[in-house]
């Protein structure tokens, strides 16, 4: 299997779908000729032409609105928001339109679109290049919400998303684009080449939506994470030697509650991680479900390790980021409770 960075894996998925399904179109700001500010679509316009892969005006609402019209007609648009922070102008089209076309038309029209967006911090992008808005999407019935943590999953999940007939929000942790990241921002970034999940088949394969992955089996505490935080959890666990079971959710909506509940019933303890602000973050939803399903198995309160309830700061990025120390502390606290 060839080595791939996250960027290459995402590009490969789109390449394959452009090849296999002529209903596929790819577009967004700087996505066409230039190949995207993160290079995810590099070379695709050259290969498939301007009618399949193209640039757009800087209007996220129109990007999604056009996709809805195209999808209703029968195409399969996969569009990019340049940063998740810039999806807000499109939130109306996403939450009020895309998510409901099927339901409100009783299936007469459907909306098979994929909206990709780089999410999370780690590049000193300040408050408008670092946000993690996943919780907002998970509150919208009718959407599916996906966030991969490695190239293998990214490719397989993106292919599944592009083959799905419902609208899918595909969040790409930008800090992982070029290599895994365990939270040690002072050290060298390790490339995906060194990582087992940095290899993926060159051709078509699927990672199913709605299925979590146990990225590290363990017995003492369950860690629920996705995206970058999976790697932070792994690094923390490795360093502190706690026998944690780390679940990489992969799909947040619909959630693979079964895998989660099985694990928490086994470990009796649970820690939830995300980079987004704490209050009403997706961690809250996870805790609500877990405490309800596993109440009689829980031996300690479920705790969250998250971004602080403030805008993502520029200079103090690493004081904001929920790094391995905070994760370790939470694990210890949970085990001692």
């Amino acid at each position: 299997m060839p080595s791939m960075t996250m960027i290459e894996a995402i590009r490969s998925a789109m390449d394959i779908m452009l090849e296999r399904d002529n209903r596929t179109v790819i577009y967004g700001e700087d996505v066409g000729y230039f190949g995207g500010v993160f290079r995810c679509t590099a070379g695709l316009q050259e290969k498939y032409g301007q009618e399949r892969v193209f640039d757009t005006p800087i209007n996220e609402s129109a990007i999604v609105g056009m996709a809805i019209g195209m999808a209703a007609h029968g195409m399969r648009p996969c569009v990019e928001m340049q940063f998740a922070d810039y999806m807000f102008p499109a939130f109306d089209q996403i939450s009020q339109e895309a998510a409901r076309i099927r339901h409100r038309s009783n299936g007469d029209f459907t909306c098979p679109i994929v909206i990709r967006m780089p999410t999370g911090g780690g590049i000193f992008g300040g408050q408008t290049h670092s946000q993690s808005p996943e919780a907002l999407f998970t509150h919208v019935a009718g959407l599916k919400v996906v966030q991969p943590s490695n190239p293998y999953d990214a490719k397989g999940l993106l292919i599944s998303a592009m083959e799905d007939t419902d609208p899918v929000i595909f969040l790409e942790p930008k800090r992982l684009y070029n290599g895994p990241f365990g939270g040690d921002h002072s050290g060298q970034a390790i490339g995906w080449k060194q990582h087992p999940k940095g290899k993926a088949p060159a051709g078509h394969y699927r990672v199913p939506l709605g299925k979590a992955n146990i990225s590290r089996p363990g017995n003492d505490v369950t860690v629920l994470a996705y995206g970058t935080m999976v790697h932070v959890a792994e690094a923390a666990v490795k360093a502190c030697g706690i026998d944690a079971e780390i679940i990489d959710l992969r799909t947040l909506l619909p959630l693979d509650l079964e895998t989660i509940v099985t694990s928490v019933k086994k470990t009796g303890r649970c820690v939830v991680l995300h980079e987004a602000t704490r209050t009403s973050g997706f961690g809250a939803e996870l805790i609500a479900e877990v405490q309800e399903a596993c109440f009689y198995h829980l031996e300690a309160p479920i705790v969250r390790v998250t971004g602080w309830d403030a805008p993502y700061p520029h200079a103090q990025e690493w004081d904001y980021f929920p790094g391995p120390e905070r994760v370790t502390k939470a694990l210890q606290q949970t085990l001692e409770a």
Partner: protein
């Protein structure tokens, strides 16, 4: 320099007790504008964006180049069908508005005074074309021969409703009849129409899309997104602005109307734009035919401002006498579309007052019959329960686990 900056606030044509004043509108004579080449460029469009395409003159005569352009499309037979469409639309509105007042449904929206636009436009479309309507474009359905029982069923939200009672009355949906599922959020669908048209061009399927928006909703963001993307990619889309002078209680001035026309807004985006007398059924047919030919022929997007007047209340929840003079509709300079077409046909000896009265009775009867049948499946005063679990269907193609759990909690 002393500060003299003061804010300005638009004035409506009237308020209760005030004599209506439509002098902000310059109404050119019928028949004065030529029929431009369908390839008309934006540079040549200025007279059409400032002016007004009109066919029927004050006496009801069809005059000028656009009358000639109509050709067979202006035949007595076609026009009589158009009149019947409009009478039908009016009868539906009347009956369903009454039904709402009787508590048989929760809500209704009439399109009184604007019937010509949708009734005429739809007759010029082809199968496979797609409208992206607002809540007030039900006349497009009548002009597409949409089955009456579906139209009425939707409003009653009963088992005859193709949308299973999920949507507010009048928010119809029919792929087959070229009527995209209507959103309650204003503006959003205008840019979706552009997307559909782009798909039509990319898939080379010969179809076009028509976006619809009210004058008030041109203020919404997606109006801009639609004009911009249409001007950039030039897909086969017709962007219709139904300028009926009001947005609930706000006059069209609050959407910038009155200064520049809405058609001129289009020119600013480089989109050829025309302005049409929307209460003149012949002008509607002629301009629709021209614009649809143009779009289908690959000459890019076009914007049409339809000048008309919202003669009825905004909706069944609204009472316009609180914010405008009751005499406004009568003072509206473009008259009533039904009256104008009727006058024209009578002038042509193709119609008569007697036949008109008879036709009115016929359509009312037809509507009443279907309405009765539909009502027999339940109304809001006599509701027939539907399974609660229907709520959870079609949220996704396949029902995910968490919705199954919720279905279980419903006990169904």
């Amino acid at each position: 320099m002393t500060q003299t900056a003061k804010l300005s606030f638009p004035h409506p044509p009237s308020r209760p007790g005030v004599t209506p004043d439509f002098s902000y509108l310059k109404i050119p004579k019928a028949g004065t504008l030529a029929v431009p080449d369908v390839k008309m460029s934006v540079e040549d469009a200025a007279p059409y964006a400032h002016g007004l395409i009109r066919v029927l003159d004050g006496k009801g005569k069809a005059v000028g180049p656009w009358a000639k352009y109509l050709g067979d499309t202006g035949s007595a037979e076609i026009l009589r069908r158009g009149l019947r469409d409009m009478l039908m639309m009016r009868a539906i509105d009347k009956r369903l508005q009454i039904a709402q007042r009787q508590g048989k449904t929760s809500f209704y929206i009439q399109c009184t005074g604007e019937e010509a636009i949708g009734c005429g436009f739809a007759r010029m479309l082809s199968k496979g074309d797609m409208n992206f309507p607002t809540y007030r474009q039900q006349s497009l359905l009548v002009g597409s021969d949409y089955p009456l029982e579906l139209m009425i069923g939707q409003v009653y939200s009963n088992s005859m409703d193709p949308l299973k009672g999920r949507q507010l009355p009048v928010l119809h949906s029919s792929r087959e009849y070229g009527y995209f599922t209507v959103s309650g959020n204003l503006g959003t669908q205008y840019v979706q129409a552009v997307g559909w048209a782009m798909a039509a061009a990319l898939m080379k399927d010969d179809g076009i899309a028509a976006g619809w928006i009210g004058d008030g909703a041109t203020a919404s963001n997606d109006f801009h997104g639609a004009l911009l993307t249409a001007s950039v990619y030039k897909p086969p889309v017709i962007l219709n602005v139904v300028n009926n002078q009001w947005a609930i209680s706000s006059c069209t001035g609050f959407a910038g109307g009155g200064k520049a026309t809405y058609a001129e807004r289009g020119l600013g985006y480089g989109i050829p734009s025309i302005r049409v007398d929307g209460n003149d059924y012949l002008a509607v047919l002629a301009a629709s035919k021209w614009a649809i030919d143009r779009a289908r022929g690959g000459d890019g997007p076009i914007l049409i401002e339809w000048l008309t007047y919202r003669a009825a209340a905004h909706s069944s929840s609204d009472d316009p006498s609180v914010y405008r003079s009751k005499r406004e509709a009568a003072a509206w300079p473009l008259g009533d579309p039904v009256e104008r077409l009727k006058t024209h046909l009578i002038l042509k000896d193709a119609w008569s007052q007697e036949r008109h009265v008879q036709a009115e009775a016929e359509v009312l009867d037809e509507v009443r019959t279907v309405q009765k049948e539909v009502e027999s499946h339940g109304t809001f005063v006599d509701p027939r329960p539907m399974p609660p679990a229907d709520i959870l269907r079609d949220v996704y193609a396949e029902m995910p686990e968490h919705l199954r759990r919720q279905r279980q909690q419903m006990g169904s």
